[in-house]
Symmetry: C2
Subunit: 344 residues, 2 copies
């Protein structure tokens, strides 16, 4: 740096969420204590859907997610009860994607003092509704004042058998996905842009965005069937498959004609529907990879079965290739859900 040059330093928005997380992970790697008993039991730190450590009862899991008003949700079309459901659902999804069962939740809230007590209780009704379905006990939390509503839920879980991670994909694995990615993005668009849709379509999209409800019990069964690699679709199918490739140091091919695009997504969003399926995010369906024999077992065990959409290759690490019906490369400009860079 020369004398006259003022280096203001890089701003968070320039670096983006994923860049900042890498920086932080590197700092923890460099400066964190590696001698503590806790560190010795650690199985997975930063960089997966949940952290994990060995315990006498199995593999303990823990995950956390922060939701901020106007960034993650908009009260113009989000009710408090749905918000409670969703804020817990995204954490249950993280535990499920590791092959674990959720156990205890802590709910931290920052709330404006002018807010209504009944709204907070509605939030908890939504939290308890989904918690009761999946065996989650709300064990504590924290309340603070704030200008905007912030909800941070932390959820613990337990994987009794093998864990699924992002870092275990191998060349030769098939790539498969459950459900119809893109529906949550359609819901966000339909609600925020007040789109005029048929009631059935609106209901489907709205529910996908406001009240995600994939099979959150599927993870432990998949792990038992031998699946080692999974992630839940939160950033978008393409971004999340890239996370798997990055963590596993492999490449992947996606066959776009195999992508499960919901007919109503196709009907209402036409040429945008492919992009929404690939980059929409917040679907919380499981995306996973497995060797063909394991994939057959999963196919037989689940109804609806997952759809095979690609394969893992030994190609240039981190590279995701999109191929059309004729196996020709397709270029699509899309972004994952980076909270600093991506705005719908």
């Amino acid at each position: 740096m020369t004398g006259l040059c003022y280096n203001h330093g890089m701003r968070i928005a320039e670096m983006g969420e994923f860049g900042l997380i890498s920086k932080i992970a590197a700092l923890i790697d460099e400066k964190g204590d590696r001698q503590s008993p806790a560190y010795r039991d650690l199985l997975l730190g930063i960089g997966d859907d949940a952290a994990a450590w060995k315990s006498p009862g199995g593999t303990e899991l823990i995950t956390t997610d922060i939701l901020v008003e106007e960034v993650h949700f908009d009260f113009a079309y989000t009710g408090w009860k749905d918000l409670g459901w969703k804020s817990m659902a995204i954490n249950i999804s993280d535990i499920n994607s590791m092959g674990g069962r959720p156990r205890y939740a802590l709910v931290s809230l920052a709330l404006p003092g002018r807010g209504e007590v009944s709204d907070v209780l509605d939030l908890y009704h939504g939290i308890l509704e989904i918690s009761n379905i999946y065996g989650v006990t709300v064990a504590g939390g924290n309340i603070s004042a704030s200008d905007k509503v912030v909800i941070n839920i932390t959820l613990t879980g337990l994987a009794e058998g093998n864990m699924m991670t992002r870092s275990s994909a191998q060349p030769g694995d098939l790539v498969a996905v459950f459900g119809f990615p893109g529906l949550a993005a359609a819901g966000r668009k339909a609600l925020s842009q007040y789109l005029n849709l048929d009631a059935d379509a609106l209901q489907l999209f709205k529910n996908a965005h406001l009240r995600p409800a994939p099979d959150f019990n599927g993870g432990p069964l998949m792990a038992r069937l031998g699946v080692k690699t999974a992630i839940d679709i939160s950033d978008g199918l393409a971004a999340d498959l890239t996370h798997i490739c990055t963590a596993s140091k492999v490449a992947a091919i996606l066959h776009l004609n195999n992508l499960p695009v919901h007919p109503l997504l196709k009907k209402y969003f036409d040429r945008d529907s492919l992009k929404m399926s690939l980059a929409g995010g917040e679907d919380y369906e499981l995306l996973f990879t497995a060797a063909p024999d394991i994939m057959n077992r999963v196919d037989a065990a689940f109804d609806p079965a997952p759809v095979i959409i690609g394969e893992i290759t030994a190609g240039e690490p981190y590279a995701l290739s999109l191929l059309d019906e004729g196996r020709n490369p397709v270029h699509i400009d899309f972004s994952g859900w980076d909270h600093y860079k991506y705005h719908d």
Copy 2:
């Protein structure tokens, strides 16, 4: 409700933090699933410094705290590194006050995109500095955009022997406290009001507010010595002793002349010093109760030793009586740190 009366419902600020927490606890009690395996293992839910459940390795603990810019900290006089230290310290304190050792932390951040990356790394330097001292492994987290900075840390812990709680105080117990409560409040006042103090006093007060560092290893030893009841002073000595009385369904007497008021607090805040000691909060020193024989053991084991300031009685539950030297009741108008009601 009559026809013409519009009941707008109660606002959060009217009800206050503790009232809202009671409402939420009652709702969870009523609606929560009591059949799940997680619920069956639960030892402590909402209402203590941490939640706790049985596990094959001992008693698992978990706590969470949310810090919001302008509510809990002010960048006018708070550096990022100190903020990192403090945001982890308050959670380590909760685990310590239960008699546990901290293990794994998750750090959720909501940050404005215009913020500097180097500030976030400074925050982590502070987080890692205290984490390394107390054996904490930072195992994950979450980053989101936001207008104001919000830091939510969740910390797990393990109590290998007996746990200390708020709900086990018994008539005949003595009440004791470590350190000098009120110093953190003095720091907040000195910094926010730019008070002109001698360097030594300013340093003492500032550190107490910005970088709390009581003996965070003391809890497990106290539990081993037989102490069953403890809380860390976060809301203020009087409010926190009231939390013990409420949870234990007992009353307490505080002898004001025995209260450890730091000479520099007395010197600079004179007639306010007593109120600051009783209601300042954020000291994170341990306040505890124990039968006299256990108290003797603690006294012998710790240097500096705790100071006995009162006793637990069978009087009207929840009542805290303040007595002067002549054992006459003293009336002081003070409030604990209720984030909606209390402003310094």
